[in-house]
Structure formats: C-alpha cells, structure tokens
Point group: C2
Chain length 336, copies 2
C-alpha cells in the first residue's frame, strides 16, 4: 500500500484550518449576537449554553417547548437606583392626587413625602410603601390605571441621567432577550413589581407581551357599570411575587420549570434555586452592580438590591456572576 | 368618444366570473380550514371574522399582538357529561387513596361515594366536591401531582363510550384552534377546572402550552427538602376561575382583553361579556349541547353545564350560538 504522508499532512492542515475557521465563526457569531458583552466568561457561558441546548441531536438538546427563560426586572433589565421606578411612580402619583386629599399632609406615611419637597428622596419602610401603593395603585379600573401608567412612563425621567425610565434599560440584556428569542426561547419577566404596572410598556421596551409578565398582583373585582363591565382594582395585595414567591409565581403563571433564570438580588435567590436545582441543562445568572461610574456600585444598601445570600450561593450552585464593570462593554442603549 | 358596449359587457362578465371564483375559493378555504363544521351560519361567521381582522389594510385589521382568543374547557373543548372529567379523576383518586384512609368510609362527604360502589354515579354538592378535591389534589408536591394526573389521563375512560377522556374532545374545536393559530392568534384556555390538572395534557391534546392555560388555583408553598426545593400544594383554594372569576383570571394571567371568546355555560357569561363589550371587532360564541345521539342534549341540568342566562343574552350581545346537532358534521375525532 502506497503511503502519501504529504497528502495526510495536507488533510490535517485543512482540518485545522477548518476547525480554526469554525471556532472563529462561533466567536464572531457570539459577538454579533451579544455585541455589548465583553469577551469574558459570562458571554461565553451564555452563548455556549444556548448553542448546546439548541443543537439538534446533541446530548443536551431541549425542544422549543422546554425553552423557558425568566428575568427579574428591577436591577436586572433596568436600573433600580436611586429607587425602584415604580416607587417614583407611586410618589409622583401621590403628589398628583394630593389636591383631592388634603388629609394626607397630616397623615403618616404620606406626610413626610410632602415635607421632603418634590425633588428630595425620602426613605420609606416596606410597610409605608404598601400604604402608598394602595392609595396610588387601586380604587380605579384596570383601564384607568393602565392609562395613568402610560402617561407617566412617557414623561417621567431618571433623577440622575434625566433619561426616560424606559431608556434606563440594560443594552446587554436587551441583546440577550433577542438572542434567546431567536433560538425559540420564550422570555418571561418574573418581578416583585406590580404586574399591571409592567405590562403597559414591557412589550414595547423588552418585546415581552403582557401574558409573559409575572409579578405582584392586587385583588380585582368584576363589576357591571352603565357603560358596560369593568374590572376594579381593590386595595388588597393578592400575591407577592418576590423571594420564595417567585417560584410560586412561575408555577402559577408559567406552569413549567424554566431552564434559565436571571436576577440581581436576594429576592431572586429562590427563583435561581428552583430553576437550576433540577435534572438536565440549567443556567443561572446574577447581575452584580459594580460600576459606580457608568451606573451604580452596590450589593447591600439599606433599601434596594441586597445581594448577599444569592452571591454566596452562586459558586456552589454554578451560577454565572456578571460584573457590570468588567463584563459589559456598554450599559445603556444611549451611551455609557 | 367611441362607445364599446360589448367591450364593457365582456369586462363585467369577466368581473362576475372572477368574483364568483373568488367567493367559491373563500368558501373552499373555509371548508378546508374547518372541515367538521357544516356550511351553516356559525362557520361562516367564524371564518368571515377571522378573515376580516387578519386582512392587512382592512378597517378591522388587528395586529398579531391583539389576536387573543379564550376558550372554556369543560363542555366547550371536551365532553363534560355525565360528570366533569376532573370530578371523575377526584373520585378515582379518592378510591385509590382509601386504603390509607379507613376513616373516609365513615366520614361525610366521602362515605356515600364508597357506599355507591365503583361504577355508580353519585351526586355531590359543590361544597362536598371542594372537600373531595382538597384531599385528592393537595398535600403533595406539584411534580407528584402532575405525575398522578399523567397516569390517570393515560388510562381513565369515559363511562359511556369507553374512550380515553383525551379522545372525548370536539373535532370542530380542534380545527378552530388550529385555524386561529395559523392566523397568528394566541389561543388560551380559561376554565373553572384546576390549572395544574389541565396543564399536564393541554399541550399534547389541544396544542395549548402550560402558560396559556388559565384556571382555578390552590395556594402553594415553596420548601427546601433534602433533595432540593419543592413546591407543596396546600389544601386552600386561592382563586376560582369561574363566572365573574373568568374576566379576573384573564386580566391576571393574560393581561389583555381578548377579541374572541368561546364557552358553553353560564359560567362563561362574564367572559363573553368582558370580551365582546369593548370597541373594535369582537366575537363571542356559545356551544349548545343539542345532540342526544352523538353526544348529549342539555342546557339546564342540576349539576353541570347550565346554559340559561348566557343563552338569553346571546341575541342582544350578537353572540353566535352553535347547535352541535345542526352545525357540526362530526363531533369527536374518532367518529360520531
């Protein structure tokens, strides 16, 4: 048998070139899909995982029906500092309603907000916040509430950047949402925020339709009025979609266990646990706010975004931790 | 100016022929989309509506995001006689669990079920039924419950036809679900039945994924066990998705008002009201059980399927009423 070493070498050479080209191609594809992510471990972990579970015939292949990804909202998809945008909404709403409620100027917890003046931040306890949310978010129909949110979100601005809140969204996460959907993932929001607050703008801003937004709910009542039926928002919280409430919200609204979960605080701990503590390919990710120049650096403030237990659990659970400073080339769609 | 009457006539003739061909084509398309529907008013109303709201540039055009259709389940998508399949499941489950609960043989409301013997129907009040459902549907994890339902639905049979319950589905409605989805409608189930009972098989049987099933829910609890986190089903009903609960379930889970609603009983009245009492193109339909030979004829029994208020409201509200006997050429996928 005649031996052709040169021929063999040529073949190997071609193979190496082909493989190099292939790997370079994958790399380029990842950069194309997630251009605002630096080429660090989190981007590679994400694109590797998505490639792995969508490769037909692969050991970890998941059919499209199993491709469910869940995202926290505040601090994960948009900026939650210096306060949750929904709290800013509640405070603005309180001030707008104040002329009809002179008693608020003498009544806790509303009193201190009026004493603080329109531009000063005040710290309110969770119990105070619930009172504020009740008087600003209920006692009207669902359609009236949606109209109020629509007006507010079109004009209210972030106190530091002067940008609309809907511009304070994270460009790398918008790219990730789009990348996942291009691979037939369904992308759900699972947030402690009010579901009817988010649904008004989540489709336009994130491409997430109303039925894929899970959040905290108030009790409602169906009523016949002269003009026809209405749904009235009652001042009673029905379900709190936070902490251990997140897996319960997932079970109730989505009805299947996700395979990917994205959060940024201890309120997301159980959602990541529930998503990743099961057989088969699983992916958990925490966004760590480490960039005091381009955004905020925090993980344990007194008010929002405490990230302590979840950060400690991450290495053992195999969750990816994103440092916004190191891993994101760009933070907002408009600049830094 | 020269006048060519013959030319004009020829043109008109062509136009008439073309229009006739076009109408015949639409007619053939409707028959193709909904072959198990007779060529009576309901089929024409359905296909006309769907054509109208999906025709780009038309006055009634709805973008895909607005194309939401909601379907009751029991009596609308599958047979609810001689009892709701979920009640049959609860009774079977009660009997399966009985050896571990000797006290049930002496305790109301369980006692009379055991006295009746395995094949006899017994009438139970709604309050009794809730007790039966509590002991058979709760006190286990969500995954355990899903496994129990999966086993039952794979083997349990309808007492009259001997068919699997998943074969007791209405072929005309399966065709309608498929037709709507082919026109980019999202099709939701909105049922008084338990959401975790339906989600196990609704995707396979109706093509409706878990997150598009809305139903009655129990309270759950998130718990850490040795083997990892579980969601435990508690014996407390959280939300009843029936009657005025249906618009509330729609608002909570779907978050937008549907444009089409399909039901068969007074439990669907408010869902049809809410769907159709709004601006823009709207469609409501009631399935009337009129075929005692191929299925059942009923609208006001003591137990299930009361259709009284909704049937009275139909003409004024412009809802389509389907007579199963007259309007459906075939009822089940397998025969009559």
């Amino acid at each position: 048998m005649k031996h052709h070493p040169s021929h063999g070498s040529l073949r190997s050479g071609r193979l190496v070139l082909f493989l190099a080209g292939f790997l370079w191609g994958l790399h380029a594809l990842a950069a194309e899909a997630l251009p605002s992510w630096n080429d660090t471990a989190p981007r590679r972990a994400l694109t590797d995982f998505v490639d792995r579970v969508t490769r037909e015939g692969g050991a970890d292949y998941l059919p499209p029906s199993a491709r469910v990804a869940v995202f926290d909202n505040d601090g994960t998809l948009w900026c939650e500092q210096p306060m949750y945008p929904q709290v800013a909404f509640a405070v603005d709403r309180l001030r707008a309603l104040a002329p009809q409620h002179p008693e608020w100027r003498r009544q806790a917890p509303f009193k201190k907000l009026f004493e603080a003046g329109p531009d000063r931040l005040v710290s309110v306890s969770n119990a105070d916040l619930i009172e504020i949310i009740k008087v600003t978010h209920t006692g009207m129909t669902t359609e009236e509430f949606a109209a109020v949110v629509r007006d507010w979100i079109a004009t209210a601005r972030h106190p530091r950047t002067g940008r609309l809140y809907t511009e304070m969204v994270y460009q790398p996460m918008l790219e990730l949402l789009a990348h996942l959907r291009s691979r037939q993932f369904r992308t759900f929001i699972v947030s402690g925020g009010g579901v009817e607050f988010m649904r008004v703008w989540a489709d336009r801003v994130y491409g997430v339709p109303p039925d894929q937004v899970v959040g905290t709910t108030f009790k409602n009542r169906y009523e016949m009025r002269d003009g026809g039926p209405v749904i009235l928002r009652l001042p009673e919280i029905e379900f709190v979609d936070d902490g251990p409430g997140k897996p319960l919200g997932i079970q109730k609204f989505i009805g299947q266990r996700p395979v990917m979960a994205f959060g940024n605080s201890d309120g997301d701990l159980q959602m990541l646990q529930w998503t990743t503590a099961a057989a088969g390919p699983r992916f958990g990710l925490l966004v760590h706010h480490t960039d005091s120049v381009r955004e905020y650096a925090y993980d344990d403030p007194s008010s929002v975004g405490q990230l302590n237990a979840a950060l400690k659990a991450a290495p053992g659970a195999g969750w990816t931790v994103v440092s916004m400073k190191e891993d994101w080339a760009r933070i907002f769609p408009w600049a830094p």
